[in-house]
């Protein structure tokens, strides 16, 4: 079996598959960055906030002053275009990976699973000769031309796209999702004004059918896409599924990204024909070079670590026990996609140690709207902001304070409960990967 895999991985296939994926990825990200700039989100998310929520261990990643921050996004758009064109490809993809990841690390409130996927794909693409055909690099530097590539390169890209579906499906194996049809019940009913099918969306059985369908769809998608007999049908389902999610939910670029990147599962002959039809036969004869294994001897161990890491990440939340939707320890970077409707109300009780008197503060006073909303129900952000408040009152002359969070949260239609133990002085608590004892137990 493994031998068969190794043999298959060494088989040579047309390099057009890599070119196809490179062009799709570059164009998608170009549109995505332009959209981000056009909507004024650079200012909204990275300039206006007076406080940012960095990721644990990445507190040193800080935003740049306003004009440079805008520059970063224009640079990302240009780099995405260079990637699509295959011009200075290696340079473009490496810088793109670092800049894109830098931006994502700035603030937790903007975390999205598909941004994580973009970072992972970009990292993977740093190690692959994606410019080996249909690229401007081929015109400028003829040594970049490679006619045939080993199949494991295509396999790596397929694995990266496929695992989003698979782990997205694993994450749906939850009581809420399968036996309460939540959060789909809430979200579908909220779409009751939808043309034609609107009234149907308030029906409970519809939510159940769609919940189970989505779970089975996610779990099976990478496999059915890999098999010749089922591929085209599965792809039709993928398009219908993602278009529907686009129409029903506000999920930005995610559906389009999945629809486009899933095309990598088609055989390399398809990519070849596609590029030939759109861009024409490339002029001149290809150098009949094949990618040498020696050149990629570092890529294989890297891939092993890369995928092992990704295999572990989605399961790390199980080490914390309890309900991950409630405590959110190990929630991010785990393909928990569209899994919860969570709302909370957060206020801090600040007790001045010198006088013993206390007062109430709402984080909205210090944060942007989207930050305040995200912070309200994510315990690690609640802790980060408590520390911010503690420093703020220290610096503004009030002196040492105790910071207690009064946070009521509700997940997937369950009644609200206190999320954080209000007796804990969060100023004394420090974040770590250890279980957060100051988060209350899930009680529903």
């Amino acid at each position: 079996m493994i031998r068969k895999w190794i043999r298959q991985g060494q088989e040579l296939i047309g390099s057009e598959s890599l070119a196809f994926f490179r062009i799709v990825f570059g164009l998608l990200l170009f549109v995505s960055e332009i959209r981000f700039i056009a909507r004024g989100w650079v200012d909204d998310f990275y300039v206006k906030p007076g406080f940012f929520f960095p990721f644990y261990g990445f507190e040193w990643v800080r935003p740049l002053p306003a004009p440079y921050m805008h520059g970063v996004f224009y640079a990302l758009a240009v780099l995405a275009l260079l990637i699509a064109l295959g011009l200075f490809y290696r340079f473009a993809i490496v810088i793109f990976f670092f800049l894109f990841t830098y931006v994502e690390l700035l603030d937790k409130s903007v975390y999205l699973n598909h941004y994580y996927q973009v970072s992972l794909l970009a990292l993977l693409m740093c190690f692959l000769p994606m410019n080996s055909s249909y690229s401007l690099d081929n015109v400028l530097f003829s040594q970049t031309k490679i006619l045939k590539i080993p199949a494991w390169m295509l396999g790596a890209l397929r694995a990266q796209v496929g695992l989003v579906y698979f782990f997205g499906g694993v994450a749906k194996l939850r009581y809420d999702w399968l036996f309460e049809a939540q959060p789909l019940r809430i979200w579908l009913a909220a779409n009751q004004d939808f043309p034609v099918i609107g009234p149907l969306l308030t029906q409970v059985w519809v939510a159940f059918v769609l919940s189970w369908f989505a779970m089975l769809f996610d779990l099976s998608a990478p496999f059915l896409l890999s098999m010749r007999q089922t591929r085209i049908y599965m792809y039709v389902v993928i398009v219908v599924f993602h278009v529907l999610t686009h129409l029903l939910f506000y999920i930005g670029m995610f559906p389009w990204m999945m629809i486009c990147t899933a095309l990598i599962f088609f055989p390399s002959g398809f990519h070849q024909t596609f590029l030939r039809t759109i861009l024409g036969q490339t002029k001149g004869l290809y150098m009949l070079s094949e990618v040498s294994f020696r050149k990629y001897r570092f890529a294989i161990p890297f891939l092993a670590i890369f995928f092992l890491f990704q295999f572990f990440m989605p399961f790390r939340s199980y080490f914390y026990g309890g309900n991950v939707l409630w405590h959110e320890q190990g929630y991010r970077f785990s393909w928990n996609i569209m899994l919860m409707e969570k709302n909370a109300s957060l206020e801090y009780e600040v007790k001045v140690k010198s006088s013993g008197k206390s007062f109430v503060v709402k984080p909205e006073k210090f944060l942007t709207r989207i930050q305040a909303r995200q912070c309200s129900f994510q315990p690690d952000m609640i802790l980060q902001f408590a520390h911010y408040l503690h420093n703020y009152y220290q610096e503004t002359g009030l002196g040492d304070t105790e910071i207690h969070a009064v946070c009521y949260a509700s997940v997937n239609g369950h009644p609200s409960n206190l999320l954080i133990d209000p007796k804990t002085d969060l100023a004394l608590v420090h974040d770590s990967f250890r279980p957060k004892k100051w988060i209350t137990d899930w009680r529903n």
Binding site: R39, W41, D44, F45, V110, L112, N113, H114, Y115, P183, R185, I186, W187, A189, A190, N191, Q192, D193, V196, I197, G198, P199, L200, L201, T202, Q203, V204, V206, I232, Y233, V236, V237, V240, Y250, I251, G252, F254, M338, E341, K342, N343, A344, S345, V352, S355, K357, S358, F359, V360, R369, I370, R373, Y408, A409, S410, V411, N412, G413, P415, S416
Partner: protein, 371 residues
């Protein structure tokens, strides 16, 4: 190829089969439209109509008093008219989405801060005719319901009020009072006309924005409701209790401190919240509670809508336990006011967390919400 076509056919057949599925009651499954229809027509529109009526009555009462400044009875009548106009504004103020907000109409009606010395100098200013045009030229801190309250009431009693009107500038003071009331009435007519079907007809816009995003009517209305619960908790009760200021009670921070109508107005704010939630009015009473029920929203074994209604009752009971005026109770009955604060906090959580969670409306501005 044949396989492909049959597959597409099956998928489309499924979609059509689903969409043409029986839908016995057209109202069923479209509670949101029905709610917007009922709340718009039978809760919001009457609220603005009633504000216009009571503002007109206030003008009449202050005009009568301005013609007879030593008449204590006419003063009392004007005071009553003020309380009722202020109450009806509190009821209508929940519906600030649309014209009230986009055209900044509320600042001339009930601005949160009042400049008392500014009012005195506006009255005594020489070389001006005190009329509606003059009032229009003044800033928001010098007019509206709070300014009228300041002229009509005194914490030292009605003799002090009459004394003020009997002073050297008493006549001008009466003119200012009259002009303020007339201006308020204009504002009330203007706000109502913006919503009326034969006017600006924002009612139509309100009913048609039946989506669930932040700019939908339900999205905005639920946001406003949450804002108002917070206002009741933090501004009406919390601030005077000292919740914002190191725990030192500040009775001067109560709403409507001259008229001692704080509790009356607070109850009006609660009432408008509850009526909007329940859709209470002359119509079919379809409110947000019915949307929650349709969605099967529960809190434990209880319907969430019932739990929220019970919480409204609990808040009312605690408010009723506070003796008038609130400014005295802040220091005299601190425990009772704190108890009311705690109940409002529970109501705020139920509405902001449980209600919103089950409505599935979006309260942030970007589609960056999901992935």
């Amino acid at each position: 190829m044949l396989k492909k076509i049959s597959c597409i056919l099956i998928v489309s057949a499924l979609i059509i089969a689903c969409s043409s599925n029986d839908n016995p009651d057209p109202v069923d499954g479209q509670k949101r439209t029905a709610m917007l229809d009922n709340v718009g027509t039978n809760v919001i529109l009457p609220a603005f109509a009633s504000f216009e009526t009571s503002a007109t009555a206030l003008t009449e009462a202050t005009t009568a008093y301005a013609a007879d400044l030593k008449n204590a009875q006419k003063l009392t009548a004007a005071q009553k008219a003020w309380v009722s106009a202020a109450e009806s504004w509190k009821v209508a103020s929940l519906f600030s989405q649309g014209p009230v907000e986009t055209e900044f109409l509320s600042s001339a009606i009930y601005f949160p801060s009042t400049n008392y010395t500014g009012i005195e100098s506006a009255i005594t200013k020489t070389g001006v005719t005190i009329d509606n045009a003059y009032i229009e030229s003044l800033g928001a801190t010098l007019k509206g319901l709070p300014a009228i309250e300041y002229l009509l009431f005194s914490t030292s009693g009605n003799n002090a009020v009459i004394g003020n009107f009997a002073g050297i500038n008493g006549g001008k003071r009466g003119e200012y009072l009259k002009a303020l009331s007339a201006n308020l009435q204009n504002q009330a007519t203007l706000v109502y006309s913006k919503w009326k079907p034969d006017g600006g007809n924002y009612l139509k816009t309100f009913k048609e924005a039946d989506g669930r995003d932040i700019n939908s009517s339900l999205g905005m209305l639920s946001n406003k409701m949450i804002d108002l619960v917070y206002t009741i908790k933090d501004e009406r009760l919390g601030a005077p209790l000292g919740k914002r200021n190191n725990g030192t009670p500040q009775p001067g921070m109560v709403d409507a401190k001259f008229s001692n109508a704080s509790l009356t107005l607070l109850k009006a704010e609660l009432r408008t919240l509850e009526n909007t939630f329940s859709g209470t009015g002359a119509g079919n009473n379809i409110g947000i509670d019915d949307i929650l029920d349709e969605a099967g929203a529960k809190s434990g074994d209880q319907l969430l809508s019932e739990k929220i209604k019970a919480q409204f009752a609990a808040v009312k009971a605690k408010i009723d336990a506070i003796g008038d005026p609130l400014s005295t109770a802040i220091t005299g009955q601190t425990a009772a006011v704190s108890a009311a604060y705690d109940e409002v906090k529970k109501l705020q959580v139920l509405m902001e967390v449980d209600m919103i969670n089950n409505l599935g409306v979006l309260l942030t501005f970007s589609d960056n919400d999901g992935d």
